[in-house]
């Protein structure tokens, strides 16, 4: 029996199976280790950032500059995205709603969805595509050209110098962009509802006011703040851990945007689940 088992173990097929199994296990192990390393590194960066903010070691001029670069320069694309999303949402719902006799609810449906979900999430996704990539590419380029090491060698902490201004700027600007997105999304929806389904402006707005409360707007803005943190921290972490020259910078920027957008969708679900539970 032992002889047979030994022969089976030593057969080329058994050895090939063993090699593949070890390879798969090693690959899974590497992936898990990479994910844990990423999560650990990100947590440390966040901790360092929070400590710096609470010590009030803030560069106000640079924060204002980043408000302009990350926030103001994203305004047009956020407005366009939100306008057309509100319009298409209204286009799909208004005509059907009138046909089934509940056209007076269209304003509520459109504004409810825009303020609670689409406004914060679409603004975050659009800003992630622009700002997260920009942060990762800028910091990544600084990393590969030794500028981050130069900062450290001058006795300056990269977190205070680079991460904190971007984080504070986007925590201010993304909620503002979300407010603009909410307003223009609702008005875009109202315009299409009027043009396509002949729903009056006053009816649309009355329905919107009846359905959407101040609390919904605040919760949407809370989401925006969380998304701002995700965008800046992922972009910064990817940038500061860039390796391998120009190719590495491109990889960091792409990876930052992909990770960021996936996290925005996941966190949006989780926050909606808890914030609007029972609502």
């Amino acid at each position: 029996m032992a002889q047979v088992l030994r022969e089976v173990e030593e057969s080329p097929t058994a050895q090939a199976v063993e090699r593949v199994s070890v390879g798969v296990l090693a690959s899974v192990g590497r992936k898990v280790s990479d994910i844990l390393e990423y999560a650990g590194g990100l947590t440390l960066l966040m901790w360092e950032t929070v400590k710096t903010i609470f010590r009030l070691r803030i560069r106000f001029a640079e924060t204002l500059n980043q408000c302009y670069l990350l926030g103001y320069q994203s305004l047009i694309i956020v407005l366009l995205t939100s306008l057309f999303t509100g319009m298409v949402f209204s286009l799909e719902s208004a005509v059907q709603a009138v046909q089934y006799g509940f056209g007076s609810f269209v304003g509520g449906i459109v504004s409810y969805t825009v303020v609670r979900e689409l406004g914060p999430m679409l603004s975050a996704v659009v800003v992630a595509g622009r700002a997260c990539a920009a942060i990762a590419a800028e910091l990544g380029s600084m990393e590969v050209t030794e500028q981050i090491e130069a900062l450290k060698s001058l006795g300056l902490a990269p977190v205070r110098f680079l991460v904190v201004p971007r984080l504070l700027a986007l925590m201010i600007m993304l909620p503002l962009l979300t407010i603009f997105a909410d307003v223009i999304g609702v008005y875009g929806g109202q315009w299409i509802a009027h043009a396509q389904a002949h729903i009056g402006t006053q009816d649309f707005m009355a329905s919107a006011r009846q359905t959407v409360g101040f609390e919904d707007v605040v919760k949407g803005l809370f989401k925006a703040i969380v998304f701002a943190i995700v965008i800046v921290m992922i972009g910064s972490y990817q940038g500061l851990t860039t390796k391998g020259g120009a190719a590495g910078v491109g990889k960091s920027a792409t990876s930052a945007v992909v990770t960021c957008i996936i996290l925005i969708f996941i966190l949006n679900f989780i926050m909606s689940y808890f914030l609007y539970a029972g609502a």
Partner: protein, 251 residues
């Protein structure tokens, strides 16, 4: 040899599987220029990063005066780095700032000097490296040699005790090499500071070095004055200094 300002004591560094430094010890004499030579990838720049606390060793100790850098917290390292200047191989100037802003940055962040005082110090430092006219230029507008000199200016503007130069003469023509070498010598005298220079350029090393240390396979195999190292009996040192393909160094 003068008293050491900095010291590597039995230091080991590895990047993954690759051993870069193995039980490496080195003393940096105060008030002198020490050049570290060695093959590409031998770990010379790693020594500079260890001295500046940018890298922690896997084993051994790194001392600045009597303070062990390896056990310092980040806040202590930041404080320590204000006493050390670091001129990077490709200058590493911040490309979103002008040359003047780059050089004035450490003064703005670490001192309470007025804008006028900062401007005067920065102009004086830029003058000493021959770049006073580039105060308002962006780094992208400078040539390779000018960038390196601007990097020198940023490294020395706070009057550091120790200045680290990472391959200051790599990638520039012989005239600029001469100019940079001369600048390093002049800055050392002006600041009365200690300098550690990584270089492959033997002519420039002979011009400026007080002491030379050769790094090979993770350890210092020769250390002394320029003459002592030139006369070394070590065949590896001789092969390196002669630039010969024939000898014990594996190619």
């Amino acid at each position: 040899m003068a008293e050491p300002i900095a010291r590597l004591d039995d230091v080991s560094v590895r990047f993954g599987e690759r051993v870069v430094l193995q039980n490496c010890s080195l003393e940096v004499p105060e008030g002198a220029i020490t050049c570290i030579i060695g093959l590409s990838g031998a770990g010379k720049s790693t020594i500079l990063r260890l001295l500046d606390g940018l890298l922690r060793p896997d084993g051994g100790h790194v001392y600045l005066r009597e303070n062990d850098i390896c056990h310092m917290r980040e806040s202590q390292l930041i404080e320590m780095r204000t006493k050390i200047g670091f001129a990077f191989q490709f200058a590493a100037l911040f490309d979103s700032m002008t040359v003047g802003e780059n050089v004035s940055l450490p003064l703005r962040e670490h001192t309470t000097l007025s804008e006028k005082e900062i401007y005067d110090i920065v102009m004086h430092t830029l003058e000493s490296v021959g770049l006073a006219h580039t105060y308002d230029n962006m780094p992208s507008e400078l040539s390779g040699g000018m960038l390196k000199r601007a990097g020198f200016a940023r490294a020395v503007v706070t009057n550091p005790e120790l200045v680290l130069y990472d391959e200051p003469t790599t990638g520039v023509d012989p005239i600029v090499t001469h100019l940079l070498t001369d600048t390093i010598k002049r800055l050392r005298k002006q600041l009365n500071a200690t300098a550690v220079v990584i270089s492959h350029d033997l002519q420039s090393i002979y011009m400026m070095a007080d002491y030379v240390a050769m790094l090979f396979e993770g350890a210092i195999i020769a250390n002394g004055t320029v003459e002592e190292v030139r006369k070394s009996n070590n065949p590896i040192v001789q092969q390196f200094l002669q630039g010969s393909e024939v000898g014990p160094i594996p190619l």
